[in-house]
C-alpha cells in the first residue's frame, strides 16, 4: 500500500510545483483571472456576514421586548369612513384584562396599558415623553429591571397613587447626572414621585424604549387621560410553545365577552412579537439569498474566466506540452497539471476573496449600526465552492491539453 502511495504523492507534489511556477510566471494574468472568483467570494462572505448580523440584531431587539409577550390591542374604530387605527376603539376594559389572567391557563400575568404623550417638568427642565400606565407586574412581563429604586406596588395601583418609574433617557434629559429616585416630576401639573429608574433597553423595532415614564394604569386613566377603556393589554405567556394556543384562547374569550356574533370580525387585535420577528427574519433570509444568488452568478462568470484563460494557456504552451509528452509525460500527468493550475488559481482567488469579504464586512459595520457576523460555515463553503469551480472549469482545458498529438504539439510555433 505504502509503496504505491508514495510515488503518487511525490508525483502530485511535483505537479503542484510545476503548476505554481507556471502561475507565478504570469502573475498579472493570474491575478486578473482570479479577480472574478475574488469578487464573487468576497461578495458572498460580506453579504452573508451582514445578513447574519442584521438577523441577529433583530432577534436581539425582539428579545429586549420580553419573551413570550402578546399584546392585545383595542380594535380599529371607524366613524364616517375615518379609520382611527389600532387601539382607537373603546372595546378593551380592565375587566377584560382580569378575565384573561383568570381564565386562560397559559397566561402568567397581564398589564393593562393606557398611554399618552405629555410634557414632564422636573428640576427646572421640561421634556415631552410618553407616559404609560401599567400594572405592578409590568416589569415581570417585559423582563425589565431597575437600575435603582423600586417598582410601584399593587396598592399603588388600586389607590391610583401618583408614583412613576423613569426611563434612562428621560432621566438624563430631566435630571442629568442626579439620581431621580425620590424626586418629583410634574405631569400635566400633577406631581408624581419617582420610585425607580429603568435599565436602558435601547430602541426596538423603531421605538426608543428608554424615553418614557411608567405609572400605575389606574392613575393614568383617572388622572391623566380620563379614559374608561384600555388601548392595549400586555400578556405574558408561560412558554414559547404555548403562544399560539394562548393567542387562540384569548381571542375566543374576548369575542365571547364582547358578545360578537360568529359572522362579525374581531374588535381587537393580538400582536405576537415573535411572529413579527420571524417575519422580519425571513425577509432578511430572502434578501440574503437573493444577494447570494447574484454573488453566485459572479462566481460562475469568474469560473468561465478561469476556463478561458486556461484554454489560452493550453494553446500558448502547446509546444511545452509537446516537449513534456516527448520526454514521457503521461496524458494524465499533463491534464493533472492544468487541472491543478486551475484549482490553485481559483482556491487562491477564493482565499483572497475571503480576506476581502471580511474586510468589506468590517467596513460595512462602520456604516451600519450592527455587527456583521462572519461565519466559519460561509468561509468553508467559499473554499469548497472555489475548489469546485477550479475542478469544473479546469476540466475541459486540461482534457484538451492531454488530448494533443505530441508530433503536432512539437511542431507548433
Amino acid at each position: 500500500m505504502a509503496s504505491t502511495f508514495r510515488p503518487l504523492l511525490l508525483q502530485a507534489q511535483l505537479t503542484a510545483s510545476i503548476s505554481l511556477r507556471a502561475l507565478r510566471r504570469n502573475q498579472l494574468r493570474s491575478g486578473l483571472t482570479a479577480l472574478g472568483i475574488i469578487i464573487g467570494i468576497a461578495s458572498v462572505i460580506s453579504l452573508v456576514a451582514v445578513g447574519n448580523g442584521a438577523r441577529a440584531d433583530i432577534e436581539e431587539q425582539v428579545a429586549t421586548l420580553g419573551e413570550n409577550l402578546l399584546t392585545v390591542f383595542a380594535g380599529n374604530m371607524r366613524s364616517g369612513g375615518v379609520s382611527g387605527g389600532l387601539g382607537s376603539a373603546s372595546s378593551l376594559t380592565i375587566e377584560d384584562a382580569g378575565a384573561i389572567v383568570r381564565e386562560v391557563p397559559d397566561v402568567l400575568a397581564v398589564s393593562p396599558e393606557s398611554s399618552s404623550t405629555a410634557q414632564a417638568v422636573a428640576n427646572g427642565r421640561n421634556w415631552s415623553t410618553s407616559v404609560v400606565g401599567e400594572s405592578s407586574e409590568y416589569l415581570l412581563i417585559r423582563d425589565w429591571k431597575l437600575v435603582s429604586g423600586t417598582m410601584f406596588t399593587d396598592r399603588d395601583v388600586s389607590s391610583a397613587a401618583k408614583v412613576a418609574l423613569i426611563g434612562s433617557k428621560t432621566a438624563l434629559e430631566l435630571f442629568g447626572p442626579l439620581d431621580p429616585v425620590g424626586q418629583s416630576v410634574r405631569i400635566r401639573n400633577i406631581p408624581f414621585t419617582i420610585t425607580g429608574v429603568l435599565v436602558s433597553k435601547g430602541a426596538a423595532l423603531g421605538q426608543n424604549q428608554d424615553d418614557r415614564l411608567i405609572i400605575p394604569y389606574t392613575t393614568a386613566m383617572k388622572r391623566l387621560t380620563g379614559e374608561r377603556y384600555l388601548r392595549s393589554i400586555n400578556v405574558r405567556v408561560t412558554r414559547a410553545e404555548r403562544m399560539t394556543t394562548a393567542q387562540q384562547q384569548i381571542t375566543s374569550l374576548l369575542r365571547q365577552r364582547h358578545g360578537l356574533a360568529p359572522e362579525r370580525s374581531d374588535d381587537f387585535g393580538i400582536f405576537n412579537q415573535q411572529e413579527i420577528a420571524d417575519t422580519v427574519g425571513s425577509i432578511t433570509v430572502i434578501i440574503t439569498l437573493l444577494l447570494g444568488a447574484i454573488a453566485g452568478i459572479s462566481l460562475l462568470v469568474g469560473g468561465i474566466g478561469i476556463m478561458n484563460i486556461m484554454l489560452v494557456s493550453v494553446t500558448e504552451r502547446t509546444r511545452e506540452i509537446g516537449i513534456r509528452m516527448a520526454v514521457g509525460a503521461q496524458p494524465a500527468a499533463i491534464s493533472f497539471q492544468f487541472l491543478i493550475e486551475a484549482i490553485i488559481l481559483s482556491v487562491l482567488g477564493g482565499s483572497a476573496g475571503v480576506l476581502l469579504g471580511i474586510g468589506i464586512a468590517k467596513l460595512l459595520e462602520l456604516a451600519l449600526n450592527f455587527k456583521a457576523i462572519i461565519s466559519i460555515g460561509s468561509i468553508l463553503l467559499a473554499f469548497g465552492v472555489s475548489f469546485s469551480i477550479g475542478v469544473f472549469f479546469g476540466f475541459y482545458p486540461a482534457r484538451k491539453a492531454a488530448a494533443l498529438n505530441p508530433i503536432e504539439a512539437l511542431r507548433y510555433e
Binding site: 510515488p7 511525490l10 508525483q11 511535483l14 510545476i18 511556477r21 510566471r25 509546444r319 511545452e320 509537446g322 516537449i323 513534456r324 509528452m325 516527448a326 520526454v327 514521457g328 509525460a329 503521461q330 496524458p331 494524465a332 500527468a333 505530441p406 508530433i407 512539437l410
Partner: protein, 249 residues
Amino acid sequence: MSAAAEIPVVQLRAVSKTYVAGEVEVKAVCAIDAEIVHGEFVAIVGASGSGKSTLMNILGCLDKPSSGEYRLDGVRVSALDRRQLAVVRNEKIGFVFQGFNLLSRMTALENVELPLLYSTQPSRARTRHQRAGEALRRVDLGSRLGHTPSQLSGGQQQRVAIARALVNNPEVLLADEPTGNLDSHTSAEIMGLFRELNRCGTTVIMITHEPDIAGYSGRILTMLDGRILSDVINAAPQLTATQRSSGTG
C-alpha cells in the same frame, strides 16, 4: 562489445504509415524492414518528403505505424496505447531535436530533470538534481547548471538537450537534424559528442539531409519515397575534431 552487438534494439517489419489528406492517401513510409543493433550509430538520410521524419516519429514512439510491426528492445511497441507509449518514451528513448526544444523559463538543470519528473518511479529532488547534474557534466556543461536557454549558445543549448535525452539512460538516442540550427564548427562539436557517447555504448539514430553530417555515423540508411533505397556500412567515418587534432599531434 561484439556479444552486445548481437541484440537488436530496433526491429522494423513491413512498417508502413499512411496519411489521409482529404481524399488522397499519402504513403509516407512504405513497408520498411530494418534492424538496428545495440551500440550502432545509424544515420537516416534523404531529401525532404522522403519519409525520414515519419520514420523517426515511429521509431520515437510519438506515432504508431498504420501496419507492420515495430519492436523496441524486444517490446512490440506498435501494439501499445498512448499511456504505455509515454512510458516507453520516458524509459527507452532520448530525443534530440533540430530546434533544441528546451523549456525557456527553466534552467539547464531543470530542463534535464524533466524526464525524471515523469518517471514511473519518481525520485526525490536531491536524486534528480544529482542525476541531471551528472548528465550535464557528460556533455561538458557542468558549469552552466543554473543558466536558462537564452543565456546559452546554440551549441550549448543542444548539449543541454542531449543531456536531457541521456538522463534516463535510454536504449536509443534519437536525433532529428541535430545540427540543422548550428554553424559548421558547432555542428562538428556536437557530432563529436555523439561519437563519444556512441563509443561509450549509446545507440544513436540520427536523421539528417547533410551528407557530411551523415559521414560521422557508422551506417547510412538512405530513404526515397518512403522506402529504404540503400543501407551501407560507413567503413571510414569522418574524423572528429579531437581525433583530427590527436592524429596530427
